[in-house]
C-alpha cells in the first residue's frame, strides 16, 4: 500500500472537498482518501499495482483543481 500526498492550490469551497473525495475514491485501487480542506492537501492510500500517482493526480486535475506538487511515501 503506497501513500500519495498532493498539494493543491488553495481550496475555498467545502463542496470542492466532496468532489475530490468522491472523484479519487471512485478510482480502482484506491484504498482511502482524505482531503485536508484547510491545508489544501489530498492524502490517498492506493495499491501501487493497480494505479499510480500520475493517474490519481490526473483525476484531481480533471475535476478542475491544479495539483502543485505530489509526494509518494
Amino acid at each position: 500500500m503506497a501513500k500519495l500526498v498532493m498539494q493543491l492550490d488553495e481550496l475555498s469551497c467545502p463542496s470542492c472537498m466532496q468532489k475530490i473525495q468522491a472523484g479519487v475514491s471512485q478510482q480502482t485501487g484506491v484504498e482511502s482518501v482524505k482531503v485536508l480542506f484547510n491545508a489544501s492537501k489530498v492524502k490517498a492510500e492506493y495499491d501501487a499495482l493497480v494505479t499510480d500517482p500520475e493517474q490519481l493526480t490526473q483525476v484531481v486535475t480533471d475535476l478542475g483543481y491544479n495539483v502543485q506538487s505530489f509526494k509518494v511515501k
Partner: protein
C-alpha cells in the same frame, strides 16, 4: 477540458465583468435609455456569470455529487427562461463575488498555519569529506551527513551539533522567540534559525521525520479532523442539497409557481451552515499552534472546553523535572565504584531522577562507566540490572523491601528526613546490601502557582496532583503551588484508577504529564495534555501538546478551547438564524432570488469574520 479549466481560472475576473455589466445596465436604466439595451446587458452578464458555476456543477455531477453549484445553475437557468434577467445576473454575481470573498477571508483564517509550513527549510548545505559544500534538497539529505548552518540560515535537519557554537531562535518549534545557546553535543531542530555563529550539524532526522515536519503535519491534520457536530453537519449537507432540489421540484409541480421553485433553490444553499463551525476551529487551532499549544482537532477543542477536573503529574509537570542530586550517603568504602555502577544503570533511563544521577556522576569525573546487562525497568519502582555478575537495584525504598532487603534504622531515618524535606530518595543496592542513598531535589516551576489560580478562576472545579513520589515530597510541592488534593506513592496503574474514579462520577478529566509511565493516563483521560519536552510516546497518545512545557500553556489551552467552543456556537446560531430568517421572508413574500442570495453571502462572511476574532485571541 482545457476550456473548463480556463473558465475556472478566470472566475474572479468574470465576477468583476459581471458586476460591471450589471452596474452599466442599471446605470442605463437610470439615465432613461431604451429597456432593450438594459436587458441585453443583463443577458450577457447572466451567460458569462453562469459559465464557471455550470462547469463546477458539471464536474461534481460527473463524480455523482449534487453540489450547491448545481442548485444555483438550475435556478439561474430557470430565471433565464422566465425572462428574469436581472435576477439571474445578480444571483450569479453575488455567488461568484461571495466565493471570491470567502476565498480571501478563509485565507486569513489559515494564515497561522500557512506561515508555519512556509517556515519549513528547503535546502541543506551538506559538508563533503573533502571540505566542499553541496546544496541538497532537505528530503534528500542522508542521515549522518554533516550539514553546515551559517548565521541567518535555518537548521534544515534534526540533529546534533558536531562543531561550532551559536545562538539559535527556536520560535518555530516552541513559539517562544528566545535565543538558546547551542554547543557541541546539543540537539538542534529543523526549522529553527541560527541567529549568530556557525554550526556543523550531524543529521539524525530529515524531511518528513523531523520534529518540525511532524508539528506541521499534526496541525494540518488537526484542522481537518472533525468534531462529531461537524461530521453531523457534513452528512446533513450531503443529503441536504439533493433534498432542496427535490423540494423545489415538488413545490414547483404542486403550485405551478416556477419562480417560487427557483427561489427555493437559491435559498436552500447551505452556505454558512457548512462553513460556520469548521472556520472557528481552524482559527482557534491556528492561534494555538502559534502560541505553542498544539490541539489535535475539533473534537479536542469541544471536549477541552467542557473539562472540569484537571489532574497533574508532579515531576516534570508541576516541577521542572530538572532535578539535581542534593546529597549522597554511602554505606560502603567503594564509593566511586558504586556511584559509577549507579550512573551506568541510570544512563539507560530517561527518568528525570536517573538523569540527575547521571549528571551528578559526570560532575564527579566519572565518565568510564561499566557495562550493564539484563536491565529491567520496574515501572514506578526503579531499575534492576546486572554489572560484573552482581545484581544492582536502583530505585525507591519499596523496590528494596519488595526484594527482601532490610533498611537499617539509620538508613530508614535518612529516607524519612529526605521525605520531610520534600526530596526524592533513590536507594542503591548491590546484591543484598544497601550501599548508597541519594537525595534528589526538584523545584517547582515558577509559573505553577499563578497557572493553578487561573485555572480555578476559569471554571475548573477540581485540581489534583498525582505522583509516584512519597507523601511528604508531594505535600511540600502541592502546598507550594496551591493544590489541596494530592495522592502520593502511586504506581502508574494507580494513577489510571484515580482518573477512572473521577470519570465514573461524571467528571470530565484532563491529565497533564510527560514521562513514559504517563501514557496510560494520557490515553484514558478525556483530554491528555503532554509536555512537549516529554517522550514521543506521550506526545502521540495525547490530545494537546504543549511545546514550551509550561503550565501557562495549560491555562492558554483551557481559555482558548473555551473561546473557540463559544465562537463555534455563535457561528451555528448565525447560520441557523439566517435560514430561519430567509424562510420567514419567503413565506411573507419579502425574499426574492437575488435578495436571498445576498443574505446568504452576508451570513457566510459574518461567520468567517466572527471566527477571525479568534486569531487575535489572547488571555486578558
Amino acid at each position: 477540458m482545457k476550456l473548463q479549466r480556463w473558465i475556472q481560472s478566470v472566475k474572479n475576473q468574470i465576477a468583476l465583468i459581471v458586476g460591471i455589466l450589471i452596474a452599466a445596465a442599471y446605470g442605463w436604466q437610470w439615465l432613461g435609455g431604451v429597456p432593450i439595451v438594459m436587458r441585453g446587458l443583463l443577458l450577457v452578464a447572466s451567460i458569462l456569470g453562469i459559465a464557471p458555476i455550470f462547469v463546477q456543477a458539471y464536474q461534481a455531477l460527473k463524480v455523482k455529487v449534487i453540489s450547491i453549484d448545481l442548485l444555483v445553475t438550475i435556478a439561474v437557468i430557470g430565471a433565464f427562461i422566465i425572462g428574469e434577467f436581472n435576477e439571474s445576473a445578480i444571483v450569479t454575481f453575488l455567488f461568484l463575488f461571495g466565493s471570491y470573498l470567502e476565498q480571501r477571508t478563509l485565507r486569513k483564517t489559515r494564515e497561522s498555519i500557512r506561515s508555519l509550513s512556509e517556515m519549513a527549510p528547503q535546502t541543506a548545505q551538506v559538508l563533503n569529506v573533502d571540505g566542499t559544500i553541496t546544496e541538497v534538497a532537505v528530503d534528500e539529505v542522508t542521515i549522518g551527513a554533516q550539514i553546515l548552518v551559517k548565521a541567518g540560515a535555518q537548521v534544515p535537519v534534526d540533529g546534533q551539533v558536531t562543531r561550532g557554537r551559536a545562538y539559535v531562535n527556536e520560535a518555530s518549534i516552541t513559539g517562544e522567540a528566545q535565543l538558546v545557546a547551542k554547543e557541541i553535543g546539543d540537539a538542534v531542530y529543523s526549522g529553527t534559525l541560527v541567529d549568530n555563529g556557525t554550526l556543523t550539524v550531524m543529521a539524525a532526522k530529515v524531511g518528513d521525520d523531523t520534529t518540525f515536519a511532524q508539528i506541521v503535519e499534526l496541525v494540518e491534520e488537526a484542522q481537518d479532523s472533525k468534531s462529531s457536530a461537524e461530521k453531523f453537519i457534513d452528512r446533513f449537507a450531503t443529503y441536504y442539497t439533493p433534498a432542496v432540489l427535490g423540494l423545489a421540484v415538488i413545490i414547483g409541480l404542486m403550485t405551478h409557481d416556477f419562480k417560487l421553485a427557483i427561489t427555493i433553490l437559491v435559498l436552500g444553499c447551505p452556505g454558512a451552515l457548512v462553513i460556520g463551525a469548521p472556520v472557528s476551529i481552524v482559527a482557534g487551532i491556528g492561534n494555538g499552534a502559534k502560541n505553542g499549544v498544539l490541539i489535535k482537532g475539533g473534537e479536542v477543542v469541544n471536549t477541552m472546553a467542557g473539562i472540569d477536573t484537571v489532574v497533574f503529574d508532579k515531576t516534570g509537570t508541576l516541577t521542572k523535572g530538572d532535578t539535581a542530586v542534593s546529597h549522597v550517603k554511602f554505606y560502603t568504602p567503594a564509593q566511586r565504584e558504586v556511584l559509577a555502577r549507579t550512573a551506568a544503570v541510570e544512563a539507560q533511563s530517561d527518568h528525570p531522577l536517573g538523569k540527575a544521577i547521571s549528571r551528578y556522576a559526570g560532575e564527579q569525573g566519572l565518565h568510564d562507566l561499566p557495562t550493564v546487562t539484563h536491565i529491567e525497568t520496574l515501572k514506578g519502582l526503579g531499575v534492576q540490572a546486572v554489572i560484573d555478575g552482581q545484581t544492582i537495584r536502583v530505585g525507591r525504598a519499596k523496590l528494596m523491601t519488595d526484594a527482601g532487603l532490610q533498611l537499617t534504622d539509620e538508613q530508614a531515618a535518612t529516607v524519612t528526613k529526605n521525605q520531610i524535606a520534600g526530596q526524592s530518595t533513590v536507594l542503591v543496592a548491590v546484591e543484598q546490601q544497601i550501599v548508597l542513598i541519594i537525595g534528589i531535589a526538584d523545584t517547582v516551576k515558577p509559573e505553577a502557582k499563578t497557572a493553578i489560580a487561573s485555572l480555578k478562576k476559569n471554571g475548573i472545579k477540581q485540581l489534583v496532583m498525582l505522583t509516584g513520589d512519597n507523601e511528604q515530597a508531594a505535600n511540600a510541592i502541592a502546598h507550594e503551588v496551591g493544590i489541596t488534593e494530592f495522592h502520593a506513592n502511586l504506581l502508574p496503574a494507580e494513577k489510571v484508577d484515580f482518573i477512572q474514579d473521577y470519570q465514573a462520577q461524571g467528571q470530565k478529566v484532563a491529565f497533564i504529564g510527560d514521562g513514559i509511565n504517563d501514557s496510560p493516563a494520557l490515553a484514558l483521560a478525556n483530554i491528555g495534555i503532554a509536555m512537549g519536552s516529554g517522550t514521543d510516546v506521550a506526545i502521540e497518545t495525547s490530545d494537546i501538546v504543549l511545546m514550551r512545557s509550561t503550565l501557562s500553556e495549560v491555562v492558554y489551552a483551557d481559555y482558548l478551547a473555551k473561546a473557540t467552543a463559544r465562537n463555534t456556537v455563535q457561528n451555528i446560531v448565525i447560520a441557523v438564524g439566517t435560514v430561519v430568517l430567509l424562510l420567514l421572508g419567503l413565506i411573507l413574500g419579502y425574499v426574492q432570488m437575488a435578495s436571498g442570495m445576498f443574505v446568504h453571502e452576508i451570513s457566510i462572511l459574518a461567520v468567517i469574520f466572527n471566527a477571525m476574532r479568534l486569531m487575535r485571541f489572547k488571555i486578558r
